[in-house]
Amino acid sequence: MTGSALLSTWFPEAASTHAASVDEPFYWIYFAAVCFLALFMGLVLIQLRVYRRQDRDQLGAVTGRPNPVFVTLWVAAAMGLALFGFITGLPGFINQTTPPWGAFEIDVTASQWAWEFTYPNGHVADTLHVPVGRPIRLNLGSTDVSHSLAVPALRVNKAAVPGREVQAWFEVTTPGTYALQSNTFSGDGFADMRSELVAHAPVDFGAWMEEVSDIFKGRTLVEVGELLYTRHGCAACHSVDGTKLVGPSFKDLYGYEFDTIEGARVLADDAYIRQSILEPNISVIAGYQPIMASFTGIIDDREIEAITAWFKTLSSKGGAAPDAQEEN
């Protein structure tokens, strides 16, 4: 890095509409502050030289009074600098407080020490993908300690605090991949809490969205089933290790017979699982309450198939899952 680049490059190359409202005030204040400091230090150093004591007992003017004109000018200059800094920085700040209508929304969850970005279609990723030229609104939250989301190239820096929802918004101007990090110390793994923001051209973003929307792409049926289990929050009521929660555990469920609360006997086969997802309270296993909400219209047939395939891998009576057979 050369000396001149060192002096001129304070910021990473700007890639958002917001960047100019940070950089421009910064450079103006920088210019004014350097002049101010040079003036002050110049006056100090010059006076030190000009009024230097020539012989040991020399006594200059012992007392003096402040010059009202100079005092006023000096205070006005300092206050002017401060006010100027405040006013030039104001528009960008106000602009940042209100995300525009129709912004593309992404939920961001920070935790020790990872990022989770959730898209409107339910896709969850650990990198942030956004389209260029469209306002993006981030709803920031944290599951444990305070974090913050910073993307220097966009001049975005917002806190992610547990128990509060904080919003940030930006509009990327240049496609590319930008560093994304936390600026708030969060414990031992803090240095790993880095990710990327990938800004796509609108067309590419559409293609990316379509690709990730298809959860079957690049995944086996069993993997899709497990993904759906985490994505729909099933874990809140159903364990996979045999622990009895609000609902029955998915371990050793498929292929077993159970008593229902009506006293009937039911075999947990493909049809029963399908029924339990779409109309869950028709036939409830004894010992549990009929309180589950229906997933009709949320989970489709193909996904039920995936869930069933995953259940088979969790059960000793499930037999080998179709995917596993292929691999063997």
Partner: protein, 528 residues
């Protein structure tokens, strides 16, 4: 009026250093000068240990191997804790508050001599507890001790909390002592407006030490309790800790520049042989700063992005900008005091210039941070942590050095080599800025605060910064070595080598234990 003729101490009195020697005497002494000297030793020790723990992150940034992230975070945590809580805030008020204040007021000792001893003891206990925790189980919570982190950290957090409690108790006791001394120990005939600016700055700092010392002690005890027994405020609402922390720490940390300003006023007036120009204006500006500094904490809290609502942030930014007025009045007072003076160069002046340069940078950085849009972006970057670095080394260390080079003849009764002091000081200034300006650039480039060790910023800046630290360390080493060497090789100092006009120069160098045989006569704050 010639230099060094007025001494009211009897010639036969032995100096406080020659009188009553021996370790037991130093341990049990109530003499303000000995307490002040011991505070100098201990605070400089805290500065050294704190600075040394800052070496590990720098080594890591240069590609040091075998340094685990956890270890780096521990080093960073102690680096900041020691520098801020055991050096920046207590150093100047303790060293000069004890050594100098009674002499400047024409008194024989502090108003509460026994309490002076306890100030020092609690400080040392606090420091030792924190150092012990480095060996029993260092913490890595970051220096803000953020509540959910500090309750789960595996280190000896309770020891650190106990150490900070003792340290802040020492702030409180020192504050009380200064406050009472100023009220009750001024020489007969000395009004408040006959006190030197240094005494004023110590008096105003005492308000800060009393208020923050006791409150911080209470909240740190609460924090420790919420960790130990799942009780107390911060177990219920961890976010509350952040509010308390910044509310208490921001004013005490930034007000730490004020005793430094007092030192510099005293140095400028003394070596220029002038009364401070616009004395009442300067005092008024200092009082205003005391008030405003309690109101600026919201800027840093907002900078940390704790979900504060935007209007509040703007109000705090606007309030913090008002500090420009008192700061302008203070700097004007300094410039006007030099004007038409008779300035003795070579000595404290290099360090005074360093303090003004770095203090100026700290204040001007405040303009960037209080400007809403840049402030929101920079609030958690290395830009902010570099402001703290400038405050600690550029502000407090240079003010301490300016004061030491001014009062050294009074403290130990010898003259140091002024040429060596100047050369060392210039190297320290160049080195420090070479170390910190690259960090400012890393900050605007987006590197997170205090994250020197894990930097992806522009190549070469870490190396440049490390080179700067090396030069600064060499410079500081020369300066410190020069002072130390003077204690055995220095020429004996006269009572008033600068021809200064405040009371401490009217007694011998070093002074006898009782400072003044008879209370000195008062004719205004500065008399030449």
């Amino acid at each position: 009026m010639s230099v060094g003729t007025r001494t009211t101490a009897a010639e036969t009195q032995p100096s406080y250093l020659a009188d009553k020697r021996g370790l037991g005497e130093w341990f049990s002494t109530c003499d303000h000068k000995k307490i002040g000297l011991m505070f100098l030793g201990w605070t400089v020790f805290a500065l050294l240990v704190g600075s040394l723990s800052g070496v590990f992150p720098v080594a890591k940034s240069l590609g040091g191997r075998g340094l685990e992230p956890r270890f780096i975070f521990e080093a960073t945590t102690y680096h900041r804790l020691l520098l801020l809580f055991l050096f920046l805030v207590p150093a100047l008020p303790s060293v000069f508050g004890f050594f100098l204040l009674p002499m400047q007021l024409g008194a024989r000792n502090m108003a509460l001599p026994a309490l002076s001893r306890f100030s020092l003891r609690f400080y040392v206990i606090g420091l030792v507890l924190i150092l012990v925790s480095m060996f029993t189980g260092p913490i890595a919570t970051g220096w803000t001790l953020a509540a959910p982190l500090s309750s789960t950290d595996p280190g000896s957090f309770i020891l650190v909390a106990a150490g900070l409690f003792c340290a802040t108790l020492s702030w409180f006791l020192t504050g009380i002592n200064i406050f009472v001394t100023v009220h009750y120990k001024r020489a007969p005939g000395m009004g408040f407006f006959d006190m030197p600016i240094m005494a004023w700055s110590l008096y105003l700092t005492s308000y800060m030490l009393i208020a923050v010392g006791v409150l911080f002690g209470v909240v740190i005890a609460y924090l420790a309790a919420s960790r130990a027994g799942d009780v107390g405020l911060f177990a219920l609402n961890p976010g509350l800790w952040t509010d308390y922390f910044w509310f208490l720490v921001t004013p005490s940390v930034f007000f730490a520049l004020l005793p430094g300003m007092g030192v510099v006023f005293e140095v400028v007036a003394g070596i220029s042989r002038r009364a401070v120009v616009g004395y009442r204006m300067v005092v008024g500006a200092m009082i205003t700063l005391l008030g405003l500094s309690f109101l600026t904490w919201g800027v840093y809290l907002a900078g940390q992005g704790q979900g504060q609502d935007p209007t509040t942030t703007l109000v705090f930014s606007a309030i913090s900008l008002l500090t420009a007025v008192p700061v302008a009045l203070l700097t004007y007072g300094l410039l006007a005091t030099m004007n038409q003076g008779s300035i003795a160069g070579d000595g404290p002046d290099t360090f005074m210039v360093g303090f003004l340069l770095h203090g100026g940078i700290v204040c001007l950085m405040g303009v960037f941070l209080a400007s809403p849009a840049p402030g929101a972006y920079l609030g958690t970057t290395m830009f902010v942590s570099t402001q703290l670095d400038y405050l600690v080394w550029g502000g407090a260390v240079f003010a301490l050095l300016a004061g030491l080079h001014y009062w050294w003849p009074k403290m130990v009764g010898v003259e140091y080599s002024r040429e060596v002091a100047r050369i060392g000081g210039i190297f320290a200034i160049i080195g420090l800025n070479l170390a910190l300006i690259p960090r400012l650039i890393m900050g605007t480039q987006g590197v997170a605060q205090d994250m020197i060790a894990f930097v992806d910023g522009p190549a070469g800046l870490s190396e440049l910064s490390a080179l700067g630290w090396l030069i600064a360390t060499l410079g500081m080493g020369v300066v410190a070595g020069n002072l130390y060497a003077s204690t055995w090789s220095g020429r004996k100092a006269e009572a008033n080598p600068w021809g200064a006009g405040t009371l401490e120069w009217r007694t011998d160098s070093p002074p006898p234990e009782k400072n003044f045989e008879t209370p000195p006569e008062i004719e205004g704050a500065y008399r030449y």
